[in-house]
Amino acid sequence: MRFPLDTSSLDSNAWLAGFIDSDGHFSIKLSGCYSSDDLETRGRVQCVFTASQSELNRVTAESNVPIMTKLAEFFQVNLNYKTEKSPNFKEPAKKVVFYAQSDRKHYIITSYLTKFPLMTSKYLNYLAFFKGLNYLGKRLTSEEILEVQALKNSMNNKRTEYV
């Protein structure tokens, strides 16, 4: 029995959790002159959730754009087209990617992942991202900047604990 594509709303089931566990990415950006004590020039924090897919399936040449468009709509962001040189393949890889980094839209991802949590160690990166949300939209004290740096140094590539 062949069933067609699932077109139910993305927040109605755990599909997106599986997908983010595979291809999603959480990060924290600290930009500007954050070592300075000068409040005016001090940098700011952004929490970023990214997901990317190749534009076309390498084997069947079918397009991933429709689903990525849906995902971008779900997160209320734009879908970007990117061409990336990769050491793995001769041809540069064409990708579609979106970045959810607007402070006011993080509720979308947090409310979804509260309902349908991640299962891999990406969950821990999400927790760091979640803690990072506390630092958004304000001038940071030097202590807070150190806290954010510590948070950054504990996630993704720099993570040393996985359970």
Binding site: D6, T60, S121, Y123
Partner: protein, 178 residues
Amino acid sequence: MGNHTKSPEGSLLSNLKVKTPLSYNYHYFFPHPQAWGRGIGYTHPRSNGFLTSIRTHHSSAGSNQLGYYLAGLIEGDGSIILRKGEKEKISPKIVFTFSVNELKMFEKLQEILKTGSINIEKEGVNRYASGAYVKKIGVCRYSITNADAVINIINLVNGKFRTPKIAALHKAIDNLNK
């Protein structure tokens, strides 16, 4: 964490070269253990929390979130491998590729699905067509080859795909129905 060899649960982990301690129980279905008791609204697993909460949240949709999660995971990191030619009669197989850091989760998945085997690839160097060398570290594969198990999983995820990978699923279904 140190004395995992003595753990009675350790013997459940079948054919792994590298065994990791099961210092906790993944609760199915099964937030990352650190989610338990953290302040983001999860209930403690031993209170039978997550399954119950899924049922209460999604009683109308049925509580089969495992199938949805697996569908998402297969569409991201999984493969459905079909055989061609003479070997077409052999059932398709399902393979997940992941980093050694996720070994525990896939061991838990293996325990839940009661099938499949996990291989840890040797460290080495991949050479690509472009001439580039990429060191590969800690690549693991979880493969499910048993025909009944594959049918079981396909039944779980059927109708829950959202990407073009559905084509592979459909081919696998046609193949199994032959």
